[in-house]
């Protein structure tokens, strides 16, 4: 087995068993980036010197001082500050800055032995679900370079899928972890709103932002979450899910599905039956307006954050980004406040409705197959809005609701592109989601082959 084909947990075990050193693993990762990233554009900057120095330091540590992520190369969306290193936020050079602190989540990962080898491509200021970026170039999908990688954590999805690194941090405000995870065929977790520390992370919307991990398996996600939240998710991950009630929504999330997505979803339902889960159709309250309420929140908050840059002629923002941010100026304070209140109304309806009848809801990650970059590239405000609405239709409501969601692969479409599902839980249900994801992933029918553009032979 090629070293980079191991899972994160396997890599840690291999290092601890002496079968490979961290230095060797980091060299493999850096080599893979150099060889493959020209065709992926997942990476913005590489930290070779830092990574090799860290690897050497970690290789010298005695076993009783090794952390849970000892020696594994990771990379992160270029909005997690690292002291002394430049964060670009996927934006124009005028906005790049050298960080004066290190993001708390980054600090925790590296205090437990992870090594940050690169900063990863992202949508400009984390605004965009497709992976397009006029400043750094489009991030390409390892399963099909003409297809979108998903965004805004585009490089995170692509780099993990292509086996450049074992895991990555991303951020999710309306789908920005789940969409690249689904499009690139990896696992991604959007935790419960507020579950993870945001210090040192560039904000898009304080009300909706959720940092979270991407990796190739739910077990790897659990290992990362153990470190990120100082909790214990991995220990119980193999616990049986027999008898668990999986909720199938009776509306919205199964409407107008592409036939390949519908077929993959049906197979996923059958998989859960075979795992001895109960399948139950649950009545879901109307979801149609939730993305619009969410828009009022995030656009207002993002517009406030970027206020100085919104003056026409300032030329500090890409046109698409400026267009979306300007919409944030159109909401009154009263509308913003009522949108905040509507979150409580909507959450109450979900808790007292479907989540009173099931443990986990199962929904597709996207209603469509992964679109081509050409189809998803819209420069007019209205065209862009239609594309965003389609691709993120099933992710944005759960962002508004603040619920934890795990995206994981569920097969491939007629173009060979990954199809993803979302497992959605009640607030705080990350451990259950990871257990369910782990059991689901262990069934062979949902294993994806390595992408054509990856480290694997």
């Amino acid at each position: 087995m090629n070293a980079l084909d191991m899972t994160m947990c396997e890599a840690v075990d291999a290092i601890n068993a002496g079968r490979i050193s961290s230095t060797e693993l980091v060299q493999e990762s850096l080599s893979a980036i150099a060889r493959l990233d020209p065709n992926l554009n997942a990476v913005i900057s590489v930290h070779e010197q830092h990574a090799m120095a860290e690897a050497a330091r970690l290789d010298a540590l005695p076993s009783d001082r090794r952390g849970r992520l000892h020696g594994v190369p990771l990379a992160h969306k270029d909005m997690f500050d690292r002291i002394g290193f430049v964060s670009t936020f996927g934006a124009k050079p005028i906005h790049h800055r050298t960080a004066t602190t290190t993001a708390e989540l980054l600090r925790r990962l590296e205090a437990d032995g992870a090594i940050g080898v690169a900063n990863l491509n992202m949508a400009e200021f984390a605004m965009g679900p497709t992976g397009h970026n006029d400043n750094f170039g489009r991030c390409m999908n390892p399963y099909g370079p003409d297809r979108i990688s998903g965004g805004s954590s585009s490089g995170s999805g692509a780099a993990v899928a292509a086996r450049l690194v074992f895991g990555a941090l991303g951020s999710d405000t309306g789908g920005s972890i789940r969409l690249p995870a689904a499009a690139c065929g990896v696992a991604g977790l959007k935790p419960t709103q507020g579950a993870l520390d945001m210090s040192g992370v560039m904000p898009l919307s304080h009300s909706l932002d959720c940092p979270g991990p991407l990796a190739r398996t739910s077990r790897d996600l659990a290992r990362m979450m153990d470190v990120l939240s100082n909790d214990d998710y991995e220990n119980d991950i193999a616990t049986s899910i027999r008898g668990l009630i999986i909720g199938i929504p009776d509306n919205y999330y199964l409407d107008d599905l592409d036939p390949d997505v519908a077929a993959a979803y049906d197979v996923a339902v059958q998989t859960f039956r075979s795992l001895r889960c109960q399948i139950k159709t649950v009545a879901v309250p109307s979801q149609d307006m939730l993305p619009h309420y969410a828009d009022v929140l995030w656009k207002s908050e993002a517009a406030a954050f970027h206020r100085p840059r919104l003056t026409p002629g300032a030329r500090q923002l890409g046109e698409q980004v400026r267009s979306r941010l300007t919409q944030g100026l159109a909401a009154s304070a009263v509308d913003y406040i009522d949108a905040l209140k509507l979150r409580a109304v909507a959450l109450e309806q979900m808790i007292s409705g479907p989540f009173r009848q099931c443990d986990i809801m199962l929904v597709p990650a996207m209603p469509c197959v992964v679109p081509t970059a050409a189809d998803a590239s819209g420069n007019s405000g209205e065209q862009m809005r239609l594309i965003l609405e389609a691709v993120s239709r099933f992710t944005r409501p759960f962002s508004f609701l603040g619920l934890p969601c795990l995206a994981t692969p569920a097969g491939q479409d007629r173009n060979g592109m990954p199809i993803g599902i979302q497992l959605v839980g009640r607030p705080g249900a990350e451990a259950l989601l990871l257990r369910v994801g782990h059991q689901f992933e262990r069934t062979e029918r949902h294993c994806l082959p390595a992408p054509p553009n990856s480290r694997a032979p």
């Binding site: 419960t192 709103q193 507020g194 579950a195 307006m289 619009h292 309420y293 009022v296 919104l310 003056t311 026409p312 300007t326 919409q327 100026l329 159109a330 909401a331 009154s332 009263v334 509308d335 406040i337 009522d338 949108a339 905040l340 209140k341 509507l342 979150r343 409580a344 109304v345 959450l347 109450e348 808790i351 405000g381 603040g402 009640r426 607030p427 705080g428």
Partner: protein
């Protein structure tokens, strides 16, 4: 004077642009102004419908959602 965002030709553009400048710090061109008024109207109408559907919305605290998340996570 009532302003119809669907019929801007007769609107007092100068005064609307002045209003925009007061709000945003710059005077948008006519295209942007029309688009902006449409967007404001659309947003307000979405929230007006929500306020009609949930008459007790005004009784809810803006911190209620965060409280619910914490309570549910601990349950």
């Amino acid at each position: 004077m009532q302003v119809d965002p669907e019929n801007m030709d007769s609107a007092p553009i100068a005064s609307l642009a002045d209003l925009a400048q007061a709000a945003f710090g710059y005077k948008p061109d006519q295209t942007m102004l029309v688009w902006f008024l449409r967007e404001m109207t659309r947003t307000r109408s979405i929230l007006d419908e929500a306020r009609l559907a949930h008459p007790h919305l005004s009784d809810i605290s803006v911190t209620e959602f965060a409280r619910m998340l914490v309570n549910e996570a601990m349950a």
